[in-house]
């Protein structure tokens, strides 16, 4: 994308005043983050806090209620663990995915089309990349807080089976970053709320099938391949391996998967920024 394709709105004087200003990026993500934090502060703490409860509810319901029907289960590495310890890491990965996807689709879409927040931001010297990075950063910050909270709960319930559970935190951020960066690019194609509902709809099977609640070995091999091609499965396996302490070389594959996903997501989103913000 060349600067020449820009409307020649900025006079040379302005450019001189703002040397870092470019087509998409003003190097001022901080302002967006600052605004986001302020907005959080002046809105409802409970809302922010509530995000933390969702996986906890799942853990209570499925881990305890359903777990009583099940007893123990085997992980993919052959370890025999209580059902709650099996699903807890999966819930951690899922909530990272859900949070990131929600923030980069619904939230971005809403602010774009209804509350017109971004319109206001972009009439200043901020560029779309500042806004995008700021939003992703805020999403990750929230995600990190939730993950930390959930891990404390896991510890309290005795569901962290090894010290490597500590590494689950960066793993969760990796997962969230992967989904958030891709999610925003996808949002740039969305025109209506109904289309966003499709995103939710497509995430549903991924959520249910990715070895979250039971081993994927219950499915025929072909389906297993499909599941293993999808990102969430890698996230679940990675986090589960860390919290149960079953380290394996496969983990490099999982991490690699997310690194590639992030790279693609960032490039893709950047190329779609114009379509997303400067309609």
């Amino acid at each position: 994308m060349s600067a020449a394709s820009l409307p020649a709105a900025a006079t040379t004087a302005e450019v001189a005043l703002q040397p870092r200003r470019s087509a998409l990026y003003a190097g001022n993500t901080g302002a967006v983050i600052h605004r986001g934090l302020l907005a959080t502060r002046s809105t409802n703490y409970l809302v922010v806090l509530s995000g933390f409860f969702e996986p906890v509810f799942y853990l209570l319901s499925l881990g305890i209620g359903f777990g009583a029907l099940v007893g123990t289960v085997q992980t993919s590495t052959g370890q025999e663990v209580p059902y709650a310890a099996f699903i807890a890491p999966a819930l951690l990965a899922v909530s990272a995915m859900n949070g990131a996807v929600y923030d980069s689709t619904w939230n971005v879409f809403f602010k774009l089309n209804y509350s017109k927040l971004y319109q206001g931001m972009l009439t200043t010297s901020l560029g779309p990349l500042d806004v995008a990075l700021g939003e992703i950063f805020l999403a990750l910050l929230r995600g990190a807080m939730y993950a930390l909270g959930f891990m404390v709960i896991m510890q309290a319930f005795g569901l962290n089976l090894a010290w490597t559970a500590l590494l689950a935190l960066p793993a969760v951020l990796l997962i969230a970053f992967g989904f958030a960066s891709l999610g925003m690019a996808i949002t740039s194609y969305m025109k209506t709320f109904q289309q966003i509902e499709w995103v939710t709809f497509i995430m549903l099977p991924m959520f249910l099938f990715s070895a979250t609640f039971y081993q994927i070995t219950v499915y025929p091999e072909a389906i297993q391949w499909v599941i293993q091609a999808l990102p969430l499965w890698h996230g679940v396996e990675l986090v589960r391996g860390l919290t149960t302490g079953a380290l394996s070389p496969m983990m490099f594959v999982h991490v690699g998967y997310y690194l590639v996903m992030i790279a693609i997501g960032v490039v893709f989103t950047t190329s779609r920024l114009r379509a997303l913000f400067l309609k």
């Binding site: 409970l46 109904q194 249910l208 609640f213 039971y214 219950v218």
Partner: protein
């Protein structure tokens, strides 16, 4: 205040005559409007109401069921969970339709004020929306029912009654949500709260995936007050003849019906009040 109505005046008589049809049929005009507004996404809605049961049944009825080979009570896990999923699907539809759309209609796309400037009353707007939602729920739930029959999860020939149970459940929950959302004047994340502290716990603690008795006793009351639990149990009575005392079955129906009536009344009141600025 004494009303000095001069109903005999020609223009007054004309107004009263013109007001007769909207007074009688107004709710249906609104329902028609909402259905027309669906035109843009009816295809998606149908696809999703078909896709959802397939995914859930495949995941829970096949996947999760593999962890519970012994089944629950006298039935397989699939049979146990199917009526719960059906009621949940009804709840999902009504929760969607009564959360953002209600808030939008007052705020970002303030169509309710437009409707109210015509002869339509606030109560009719609510009625009309509920008619539309009920139709959507019936379609969704019927499709769901068809799918679970195909999965072989409905042993009883009275199973189709579960369609009614699920619809009633959805509507009862819908009007309760609308009672709340119709009072929201400022978006401070209430929808997320509603989802996280309302819908999700209902889904998880209403005897959906496991009998309520599996939960620690302090969590069980969530189920007792949960319309979803009442609706799910009702559905189980219909689809596989869940063994429960008659008084309990009557309680399920009574509880859901009461919620619906009270919620509808309250929503209508809120709408009327809010439109009358």
């Amino acid at each position: 205040m004494t009303a000095l109505d001069q109903t005999q005046r020609p223009d007054a008589a004309r107004a009263i005559a013109a007001g007769a049809a909207p007074r009688r049929w107004g709710s249906w005009y609104i329902a028609e409007h909402r259905i027309r507004a669906m035109k843009g996404y009816a295809g998606d809605a149908i696809f999703q109401s078909l896709g959802n049961p397939l995914i859930y049944l495949f995941a829970l009825g096949v996947g999760l069921a593999s962890l519970v080979p012994q089944g629950v009570g006298d039935v397989t896990y699939l049979q146990f969970v199917a009526p719960a999923l059906m009621a949940t699907a009804a709840m999902t539809v009504t929760a969607n339709e009564t959360s953002y759309p209600v808030m939008m209609g007052f705020k970002w796309n303030p169509i309710f004020f437009g409707m109210n400037a015509s002869p339509i009353t606030g109560a009719q707007i609510v009625n009309g929306m509920m008619i539309h939602i009920a139709l959507r729920v019936i379609v969704t739930v019927s499709i769901y029912f068809g799918v679970i029959v195909l999965f072989g999860a409905v042993p009883s020939s009275w199973g189709w009654l579960a369609i009614g149970a699920a619809t009633l459940t959805g509507m009862a929950i819908g009007v309760v949500i609308a009672t709340y959302t119709s009072t929201i004047t400022e978006d401070r994340g209430q929808m997320a709260m509603l989802q996280r502290f309302g819908i999700t716990p209902l889904f998880l603690f209403s005897g959906t995936f496991f009998p309520l008795e599996q939960l620690p006793i302090f969590l069980q009351p969530i189920g007792w007050v949960s319309p979803l639990w009442h609706g799910t149990e009702l559905g189980r009575v219909a689809t596989y003849g869940l063994d429960e005392p008659v008084w309990l079955t009557v309680t399920h129906v009574g509880y859901l019906a009461t919620l619906f009536v009270v919620g509808l009344w309250a929503t209508r009141k809120h709408f009327t009040k809010r439109l009358n600025k």
